[in-house]
Structure formats: C-alpha cells, structure tokens
C-alpha cells in the first residue's frame, strides 16, 4: 500500500477549492475528472495503473468507431487495422529513426487519417453488410501485410518490434515511475481526444454527420456533400483509433502482427455496442467491458468445476466437469455474458441510461 503522499493532499486541496469556486457543474465535473486522474496513479498499484491506461486506450479506439457508426451510420469490423497502423507508425519511428515517442502520436494520427480517408472512398459505394465485409477483409489482411517481405526491415516481420528500452521516462526529474508516467500521458491524450470528439459531434459538421446517418437522401437535399462528409468521417474515425494504437505501442512496449488480429476489431466493435452506439461517454464503459469481462469470465469458468460438484451433491447424476477442463469454457461464459447483456439492455448501456432518465422524468412530471 502506497502511503498518501504530500502531493496527493495538495492536489486534493486545490481541487476542492476550485470545485467550490466553480459555479458551472460542467467545469466542476471536468475538474473532478482531472483530479481523479491526477491522484489515481499515486495510490493505485502498478498493474492496476497499467490496466486503466489500457482501458483509456480502448476507450479512444471505441470512440473513434462510434464517430463512424454511431454518428455517421457507417459500419466497420476492421478498426484493428487502423489501431495496428497507429501502433506500427509509432513503433517504427521510435526504433528505426529514433524519433521521440511524443512526436510519433500526431504523425500516427495523420497517417491513420489519410489511410482512413482513402479507405472511405471505396466505402462510399458500399452499404451495411457489404461495408462490413470490406472492413472485415481489411482487418484480416493487415497482419499479413505487416509481415510482408518488402516492409520486413521496418516492421520486424513476424517477430515484431520490442520497445521496452524505449519506454518514455518522466521528464524533468518528476518523481513518477514508468507506469505512472505512461498513465499521465495516456490520460492527457484521452482528455484531448474526447474533447475533440465532443466538440465535433456538437458542431455544424457533427450535425451534418448525424443528418447523413438518419437519412442520406434528405441530407443530400439540404445541401450536405455526402461523399466529403462520409470519407472525412472515416478519416477522423481512423485517426482516433490510430492514436489509440500509438499509445498502446508505448504501453505494451511491443508490436507484432499477432497483437492486431481480427479479435481486436471484434473487441472494439463489441465495446462500442455494449457502451452504447451514438453515445461518446459509452466508450469508457465499452473499454471497461472488453478489458475486464474476459478476465472475469475466466475466473467464473474455473469456478464452474466446483459449482458443478456442489450441484452433484444434491443431484447425483448431474455431469461433472474436470477442474482443468473448466478453463476451456472461458469462451462460453464470455458469450453467455454478452447475450445476457444484450437481453438486459438491447441498445447498450446508453439505451439503459436513456430509459432510466425517461422513467425518472416521467416520475417527476
């Protein structure tokens, strides 16, 4: 247990004062989040800090997909590709050209934007299932392209690139270890990205995006340039996911084709639906889900053996599952979890919250 350091107390004190000063609840909420973020790694263990950093990174990626699907009505099962491009751009620049990590984030963002924009062009002609398949194909092809011979000298081929010795340290002799510093960097980028996301969806462009989602033809009639907005949204969405990828390269300190398989694309997609399509803060809940639920499913699966034995005490002919084999049921438990979740909240957590708010309003009114 790390003891509360003086820094914590000072930050907390400042925070409290600012909150009392702030009249606007939005500002207060924002400051509150800042304070939590600033204090959190000071008391949390290294591994928990690491996990929360991972969660934030997933949240950025999910928010990126949500901009595309939830706000523009385009579909993607291939966002692992942009995540991979972001991670590799960052990793290659750090290992091959000694570019400092911080600089690689905007470059990865720009590269991913271009890739997303370009992919958005053929996507213009595809809808629904066809777009799903095209993006799915992209996700399948990406690991193969990463280990392709002509780029092998850059990407490290199947062996990938180890960055452990390149992890950024806290600058100016700040008293943070690597986990803490990684978290702060991730946290800062997360705040920036979500600020951009919120501003975007509430801007004129955001309204145009949503108009296209709701009714393409009507949007066109009102003078919205469909192709431009759809491809731009694809680019922005890829940019978000690419930034997440770049951050993950730093957090994991290793990139390899195996890190960016189709399962990652599926995870990002599941995270978006679980968190809520078309609701930006849902990205955090989605991240929470894809990070922790597989772990929980594993523990439950392991516990199933004992559970079955318990039932067998009452019902003797109940099947028994071996303790070792129970681990193989992890996927089953995870799947059941997902189905139950959709049962309880068919439109994700966002839908559930909306429903709750409606009920509350009705009860009051």
């Amino acid at each position: 247990m790390k003891t509360t350091s003086p820094i914590t107390t000072i930050i907390a004190a400042i925070g409290a004062t600012v909150i009392t000063l702030a009249q606007n609840w939005k500002v207060a909420g924002f400051i509150f989040i800042l304070i939590i973020g600033a204090i959190f790694p000071l008391w949390a263990s290294g591994v928990f800090t690491f996990q929360i950093s991972q969660l934030l990174i997933y949240a950025i990626a999910i928010a990126g997909l949500n901009l595309l699907t939830g706000f523009n009505g385009q579909f993607s099962l291939g966002h692992s590709a942009f995540y991979a491009i972001g991670a590799y751009v960052s990793a290659v620049m750090m290992t091959q050209w000694d570019i400092p990590f911080y600089l690689t984030i905007p470059i990865a963002a720009a590269v991913c934007f271009v890739f997303g924009f370009l992919f958005g062009l053929p996507a213009l002609r595809l809808e629904g299932i066809y777009l799903a398949l095209a993006t799915f194909a992209l996700a399948i092809a990406t690991p193969q392209i990463l280990k392709f011979k002509p780029v092998e000298h850059l990407t490290g081929g199947v062996q990938g690139l180890a960055l452990f010795h390149l992890k950024p340290e806290a600058p100016f002799g700040l008293p943070f270890d690597q986990d803490q510093w990684t978290f702060y960097v991730t946290f800062a980028v997360t705040i920036l990205m979500f600020f951009i996301a919120f501003s975007l969806v509430n801007s004129r462009s955001g309204r145009a995006m949503k108009a296209i989602r709701d009714n393409q033809i009507a949007a066109k009639v009102t003078g919205i340039d469909l192709s431009l907005f759809k491809t731009l949204t694809f680019g922005v969405s890829a940019l978000f996911t690419g930034v997440a990828g770049a951050l993950s390269a730093m957090l994991i300190a290793f990139v390899a084709p195996d890190s960016f398989q189709i399962t990652l694309a599926v995870a990002i997609f599941v995270g978006m639906v679980v968190g809520g399509v078309g609701w930006i803060p849902g990205a955090f809940l989605g991240g929470l889900f894809i990070l922790f639920v597989p772990n929980i499913a594993e523990h439950i699966a392991f516990g199933l053996a004992a559970f079955f034995d318990l039932i067998r005490k009452v019902i003797p002919f109940f099947p028994s599952i071996g303790e070792q084999s129970a681990k193989g049921l992890t996927g089953t438990v995870y799947g059941v979890f997902l189905i139950l979740l959709i049962y309880i909240m068919p439109s994700g957590l966002a839908g559930l919250l909306r429903l709750a708010v409606q009920r509350l309003a009705r009860a009051r009114g």
Binding site: V47, Q51, I140, D258, I296, I300, E323, K327
Partner: protein
C-alpha cells in the same frame, strides 16, 4: 487441493482488492513455509485454444506433486491465466501474476509473440521466465536476458539435422518446402538453408508458404509436386501436416518426406492422415509418443498413463501436448527440488542453469538435459526416426544441435 479456485464475487472484487494490496512479505515473493506460487499464461480461449491443454496438464501435474507431499514440504500453487494468444493480454496477465499474485516465477508462457512481449518486463523485474513454450532460437541469451530460458530443441537446429541428412543421403536432391508463414515456419527454413550452405540455392526448387488462415494447403502441395521436387521438407502445424500427407497420397506424389517434429504425433497427425499415407516419413524426436506401441511397457509411459487417469481424466490421451506438459512440469519439479529449501529467484535460475545429464520419464532414452551459466538451451538433442508400420523407428546416433540465438 492447492490449485487456486476463484468464486464469482472474489473475481469481481479482484481488480480492486489486489490494487490495494502491496507485496505481502519482505522475503522471496511467492514463497512461504507452506506454499510456492508459480505463474503461467496459456491460451484457453480464442483461435489458439488447442494449446490450452498444455496449461491444464501442467496444473494436473502439480496437483499430483501436492498429493504426494509437495516440494520440500511446500505445496505448489499453480496459477494459470488466459492470454488468448494476444501479446497485450499476455503482458497484462503476467503483470497481474507478478505484481498481484506475487508468483515466484513465470513458467512456460506460450508462444513467441507473447514471450517477446513479456521478456523485457520480466528481465527488468528480475523474475525468472522459465522454460518458455516456443522453439524459436532467441530464448537462450543469458548475457542479454539472464532471466529467460527456453526448453525444447529449437526449430533451427532441427532444420539443420534434416539438412545434414539430406546432404549425406540425397546429394542430388531437388527440395520442395512447405512452411507456415510466421516465425516458426521461417526458423525451420532458415535452419535447413544454413545447413545446406552454398548448395541451398541449387537444391531448393520450390518454397511454398501458407497462412494459418488458409483452409487447406492443397494448392501448395500441387505446386510442389509440379516443381519436380523429390525431397519434401514439411514445416507445418498438425492440421496442415495431416492435410498435406493425405493430399500427397491423393495426387500420387512420393518424395522423401521430412516432417518437422511439431507435427510428428502418431495420434494427432499420422493416424488421422492414414498410416499407409504416412509410411516412410522422416522426422526427429526427443519425447516418447504415447500412441506408439513400442512404449507400451515403458516404465515412464506407464507412469504417464496412470497420471492421466488419476489427475487429468478428461484430458485427451492422443494429444502430444499432454506428454509435453507433463515432461516440462517434471523438469520444473526437479529444478525446484534442486534449488533447495531456501528458495529465491536467483537460486531457481541457478538451479535451472546447472542441470547435469538430467533424464525425465518421457524423454527418449539417451536424451539428457544439460545447462550451464552460458548454456540456456536445456534440450539440444534429437534423434532421427522413420515411420514404419504404425510406429516410429529410431536410427542413427543422438544428435546435438549447435544453433544458438544471437
């Protein structure tokens, strides 16, 4: 019963609870008077879950050790987490094991990418990364990574053994190669090419890669036959090896067939592919095959069958992974015994690096495990063998590989 069981509620609370807890004692992490904690990651879900049985058989092995009184009076608590063969998950789970569960060491993490992802971390923390489950060549580099040690013979040295044999017995061969397009397949090809030396260019007439995602390797086999190759080097995983053996018989291609040991399981590859089709295949081995009748009365094999019946009854007795898991667990068992009563991480590494002519139940007769402060390659010996009438016939001497990672 020392294998850790988790309920639902503790699992939910785990993330938070462990976050609050620091290291419990000032002594060696993971060691108390009554317990040794050993960490492991394995793919129990996802596309690589076929390997999950290795983790399960290791858990069963330590259940047996505990039932027989533990190691120097301590019970083994083997904690194994699922990494779904994803490097980021591998790092997350490893950190959980090291920082929250406080394991003494990481044992048998599986897969080259996962191990590469955790190698820097574990060496930085000075936590042993013992007997990694991959045949890549890079795991025995004590100068750079003093806390990492491989175990099985590496792919490159095996490739060299075939090259030597081909040069001696088929000097004018036209060689066709089938390989999986990843680190494992490429390591094999490199070993073969290095072994052939200058003659590699003229002898190899066709190289056909396949992806794990390919449904079949039929088109590769057709292309290899068309290339006119009369020697076939097959570096593929069990499913594809069985497919290729069957397809070769179907299209009547009969080269001298050198099959990598990854896929030489009698029950898992050759029987499904058909014994007739597999007749005459060359391979190398270091483990006894449980489905090979010649070991029916072997003492070590009898022990293994008894172990499977008692401690892993729902395990698959045709899977070579369960022989592998048992053997590698037995090796760790011996290392922990050798490290003595006073267990430390340094002590374990030292014991692992000073194995002398160690023999295990299921290693082929004559194959011995040797390590030293500069030799972090435990098993470096192989024996050539040829498939005849439903079992492997061994021939020639025990061959030592010399390929070391750089």
């Amino acid at each position: 019963m020392q294998i850790k069981k988790y309920g639902i509620i503790p699992a939910l609370a785990l993330g938070f609870a462990v976050a609050m807890a620091g290291s419990a004692s000032a002594q060696t992490p993971g060691v108390t008077d009554k317990e040794i904690k050993i960490g492991n990651i394995n793919p129990y879900s996802g596309p690589a879950s076929a390997y999950g049985t290795i983790g399960k058989s290791i858990a069963a092995y330590f259940k047996m050790v505990n039932a027989e009184g533990g190691i120097n009076g301590r019970m083994v608590n083997f904690i194994s987490y699922d990494d779904s063969y994803s490097p980021p998950k591998a790092l997350e789970q490893t950190r959980k094991l090291v920082e929250s569960d406080n394991v003494l060491l990481m044992f048998q993490p599986l897969g080259t990418p996962g191990n590469t992802a955790i190698q820097g971390y574990l060496n930085g923390k000075k936590v042993p990364q013992l007997f990694v489950a991959t045949g890549a060549t890079k795991w025995g580099d004590p100068k750079k990574f003093p806390w990492t040690m491989g175990w099985q013979p590496n792919y490159q040295s095996e490739g060299r053994i075939y090259a030597d044999y081909i040069l001696k017995n088929y000097p004018n061969a036209k060689i066709g190669i089938l390989f999986q397009n990843d680190d494992y397949g490429k390591d094999y090809v490199k070993g073969l090419k290095d072994g052939l030396g200058a003659k590699a260019k003229t002898m190899i007439v066709s190289e056909q890669p396949y992806e794990v995602a390919d449904p079949t390797v039929d088109s590769q086999i057709i292309a290899l036959k068309a290339s006119g190759a009369d020697v076939f080097f097959n570096a593929s995983t069990p499913k594809f090896a069985a497919q290729s053996i069957k397809k070769m018989a179907e299209i009547g291609w009969k080269p001298a067939h050198f099959l990598n040991q990854v896929s030489n399981s009698v029950g898992g590859v050759l029987k499904p592919a058909g014994f007739d089709n597999a007749e005459g295949i060359f391979s190398t081995g270091y483990l006894k095959d449980q489905n090979d009748p010649q070991w029916k009365n072997d003492a070590g094999m009898k022990k293994w069958f008894a172990f499977m019946d008692k401690y892993y009854p729902d395990g698959d007795k045709t899977s070579s992974f369960n022989v592998y898991g048992y053997t590698v667990a037995q090796n760790l068992h011996k290392v922990l015994l050798a490290a003595g009563k006073n267990l430390t991480r340094e002590g374990v590494m030292k014991a692992a690096a000073s194995m002398k002519d160690l023999e295990l139940d299921l290693l082929l007769p004559g194959i011995k495990i040797n390590t030293s402060a500069t030799d972090f390659y435990p098993i470096e010996q192989n024996q050539m063998m040829r498939f005849k009438g439903g079992n492997w016939e061994f021939f020639g001497p025990i061959i030592s590989g010399e390929v070391r990672g750089s």
